[in-house]
Subunit: 222 residues, 2 copies
DNA sequence: CTGTGACCGGGGAAAAATCCCCTTTTTCCA
DNA sequence: TGGAAAAAGGGGATTTTTCCCCGGTCACAG
């Protein structure tokens, strides 16, 4: 059953919280009696990872958080796919919302797990991924399927344009729309257009609700 | 050096994330060669803890998160002080802001650590607390000292009244101030008073900034 | 070529939020 | 128990947000 009886699967962890990293290592080692997995190193952010990848063995699987300082999970995944396409990525995140899950799936990660995982979950995921497969949590599968079902239907796509994302970030600050328009170099009316589009698409009733959503999906960190 | 060579110090953990709990257990066991500590049980929230305390051995030290469903850290600490005054509490939280730290210190917890802890931190804290002392992280010490220095000075107290806290929570939703006034059973003008007071005290420029602060200090979770 | 959809922009009005100055009620402690 | 302070409420003006309806440009498919 074991594919690599003598060479363990090399794992690296990218997460800004020490406690999570240690927890993950513990979960990985628990029940891994055959020493099938070996955690090579840990990094605190995408930037940290970039440095560490240069002077260390390249891992097979990367466990990746989303919300991190310096360089977040999305950026890091994009970068890895470009410069280290061989590394398979398993996302482990607090975020269980559509936006985050879809973005990561679209980036082509091999798995998506919530941070509320049990020992079995992480082992199933690592097994699946190391043997060339995929492993999504229930919630991620649900989001993906729901998306597949009504991609052509009259469902509003959650997809945000780059400009809308930028606006959403700024709408979380104490700037007025006039100031935001100035920063983004568009008319206030265009800003109002972004706002209206997001309100419609997500059903927000006011700016506060919109800002809260931005926080929830990790676009803005207070 | 060891105070209880034969009876280990009994610990319980209250945190809504499995990964954190496992990470904590790992950190506690790492280097604990003399089996000085024994983790009795884990709970996912204050409510869960209340149930589990009834049918289990009472722990000596409780490791406590702040942001949890059902019953958050503040409530849980108050409850514990009332019904189990013998249990010493060590807070381990993501929040490093004044508000959270001060509230917990005022509630009389024995220690405050960030979630970015190393093995030594948790062991030092557990040692200090089990021998009757206190252990605060650098940040918590800093906040406490700063507070002591200018408690009588012209510094605006961060302290929020219960009503203000309630208002702040509701201001994070999509309710208008009229609706909030209705829910809180006061006049809109009173609500405007709460808002103005908070704006002045914390320097907010608009409702979004205020809501973001509420999220940062854990009063509201999006 | 024409239609369709997206993106950008505008006018104008209603609703909500913000600000400033003021009165009444309640609390509480010296 | 008198008086100060805090909490609650108010009038009214300005700014910002929100809404609705409109026109132009540009790319791209039919």
């Amino acid at each position: 059953m074991n594919i690599h009886p003598f060479s363990p699967i090399k794992i690296a962890i990218v997460d800004d919280h020490n406690l999570f990293r240690k927890g993950l290592i513990k979960l990985i080692n628990l029940g891994d009696t055959h020493r099938r997995y070996s955690v090579l190193f840990e990094a605190e952010s995408g930037l940290d990872l970039k440095e560490k990848l240069n002077k260390r063995t390249i891992p097979d699987i990367m466990l990746m958080d989303i919300d991190m300082p310096d360089m977040d999970g999305y950026e890091t995944v994009s970068w890895l796919h470009h410069f280290h396409p061989g590394i398979r990525i398993l996302v482990i995140s607090m975020f269980e919302n559509e936006e985050a899950i879809l973005r990561m799936l679209q980036l082509g990660v091999r798995g998506y797990l919530s941070k509320d995982i049990e020992v079995e979950d992480i082992h199933h995921a690592l097994e699946a991924i190391s043997s060339g497969g995929y492993y999504y949590s229930e919630r991620a599968t649900e989001v993906r399927d729901q998306k597949l079902n009504n991609s052509s239907a009259g469902q509003q796509a959650q997809n945000m344009s780059e400009r809308e994302r930028e606006f959403l970030k700024l709408a979380c600050t104490d700037m007025t729309y006039v100031q935001i328009a100035d920063v983004m170099n568009v008319s206030v009316k265009t800003i109002d257009g972004y706002r209206e589009a997001l309100f419609q698409r997500f059903g927000f009733k006011n700016r506060v609700a919109m800002a809260m959503y931005a926080v929830k999906i990790g676009i803005y960190t207070p």
